[in-house]
């Protein structure tokens, strides 16, 4: 065939038969499928152990508190191969993250993130009590910490929050706590004061199952 032998134009102009084909435009945003999650398995200590994991606030940081608790299964037994991770604002309500549209905050001796395992039967995180953060609905959220829980037997991390029992007034205004059905549900998120900080158990199942969030 002679490549210069151009065929005549068709009598009818070309019209794509559907929006999906031939227009050169995508009709929906391009999306890649996300990678599916999987259980962290029983051997998470190999890959996810850090010597400084539990120190969201450095040792000796002013106002440092310990948040301790257990992770319990549906039989009420301690889960010794779980890991929790916490993420939170600093005492001024800022985040040590470039994604905070107000600008990344920095606070002396504080990184906002901790990772703790439950090998001893409980987790322990050294941190600072977070400040209040805008809720996007014209108010302020009560001081809170976002928590991820990972364990063998959980195929996708589960997410909860820690609030503080001695913040009753702020808790009463908090949009997330207010959205929960009853006080029993709210109770599962509220850490109680102890000698050196706060305590909150995470119950994966059962009558007092912790409220978990879809994020």
């Amino acid at each position: 065939m002679n490549p210069l032998d151009v065929p005549p134009d068709p009598a009818v102009p070309f019209r794509p038969s559907s929006g999906q084909r031939g227009t050169g435009f995508l009709t929906e945003p391009l999306r890649l499928g996300t990678t599916p999650s999987a259980t962290v398995g029983p051997y998470l200590a190999i890959g996810l152990t850090w010597p400084d994991g539990e120190w969201a606030a450095a040792e000796g940081a002013e106002g440092g508190i310990w948040i301790r608790g257990r992770v319990l299964d549906g039989a009420g037994d301690v889960v010794p191969d779980a890991m929790i991770e916490t993420w939170q604002a600093d005492p001024d309500g800022g985040f040590a993250s470039p994604e905070d549209p107000r600008g990344a905050a920095s606070y002396p001796g504080f990184r906002g993130y901790a990772r703790a395992q439950t090998l001893t039967g409980e987790f322990a995180v050294h941190t600072l009590k977070p400040g209040r953060v805008p809720d996007g609905e014209g108010g302020l959220q009560a001081p809170h910490i976002d928590v991820s829980v990972f364990a063998r037997g959980i195929l996708d991390r589960v997410v909860t929050r820690i609030y503080f029992a001695d913040e009753a007034a702020a808790n009463a205004e908090d949009v997330v706590l207010r959205s929960l059905p009853d006080d029993a549900a709210r109770e599962t998120l509220i850490a109680v004061p102890t000698e050196d900080g706060y305590r909150l158990d995470v119950r994966l199942q059962g009558d007092r199952e912790t409220v978990f969030f879809a994020v």
């Binding site: 599916p36 190999i46 996810l48 993250s97 996007g136 589960v158």
Partner: protein, 248 residues
């Protein structure tokens, strides 16, 4: 994606979730360990606010150059088939995720983990710890040199063997992007009877399986497998503010 401030207010991204039909469920009955551990109540929807759209920055200071080569530990060479595992970390909008900490852990060539709980009688390898860490480059790329992990029995059911896999942990840029997952190898004959693999909805399973890469296989040295990891992408939604544009 970073939110923006302007006279009009503060806008926060919303991280889009994969439809439930394509996500791994938290619990899966054939995987026995879920019975007492996977929460039974429906999770409460948590709209994304500042805590959810921000996340820890965990980069270079977590990683040493030798962490990218799992085959050379404790003064010697690990036993097994060397493989290069590489790929990109992207979000579902197709944007690379640079400077992201990628942590991996795995069994050795005989299918045994260096962990006190793993006591099935396969040999430990003094030169294999099974731990690797790297940070993605400016294009979201990562790579590890490692040993192909073996399959191992795990007692979930009669004759239960886990397909060969490498555990991966990633943070992304926001709390909502946090991902712990497992990478599998193509055409593993053990997929059919593995409840952890089969908990992934069928249409998404291929995303957990790496691709044999002839182009990166190293002559006389190592096979190569490519695996791209996709974290959740974003959608911009307005964040209400007061009249001054300050966050209320």
């Amino acid at each position: 994606m970073t939110g923006t401030t302007s006279a009009g207010g503060l806008h926060l991204p919303r991280y889009v979730r994969e439809p439930a039909a394509l996500r791994t469920p938290v619990g899966f009955p054939d995987y026995r360990s879920t019975a007492l551990r996977a929460p039974l109540r429906t999770p409460v929807d948590l709209p994304h606010r500042l805590t959810e759209i921000t996340g820890p920055v965990l980069g270079e200071d977590r990683v040493a150059p030798e962490d990218a080569d799992l085959t050379l530990r404790n003064g010697g060479e690990a036993v097994g088939q060397r493989i290069l595992v590489y790929g990109r970390v992207l979000d579902s909008d197709g944007r690379p995720v640079p400077d992201a900490l990628v942590e991996v852990w795995q069994a050795n060539a005989a299918g045994r983990y260096r962990h006190v709980v793993d006591n099935w009688p396969a040999p430990l390898d003094p030169h294999f710890d099974g731990l690797g860490r790297v940070v993605t480059d400016s294009l979201g790329r990562y790579e590890f040199m490692t040993i192909k992990p073996g399959a191992y029995p795990w007692g979930n059911h009669h004759n239960a063997w886990r397909p060969a896999h490498i555990h991966f942990s990633l943070f992304g840029r926001a709390f909502t992007q946090r991902l712990v997952t497992q990478m599998y190898f193509p055409d593993d004959p053990l997929f059919g009877q593995d409840p952890i693999y089969n908990a992934i909805p069928p249409a998404a399973r291929h995303r957990a399986v790496s691709r044999y890469s002839l182009e990166r296989t190293q002559d006389n040295w190592a096979l190569a497998f490519e695996w791209d990891i996709v974290l959740r992408g974003t959608e911009q939604t307005p964040f209400e503010t007061d009249d001054d544009g300050d966050v209320a």
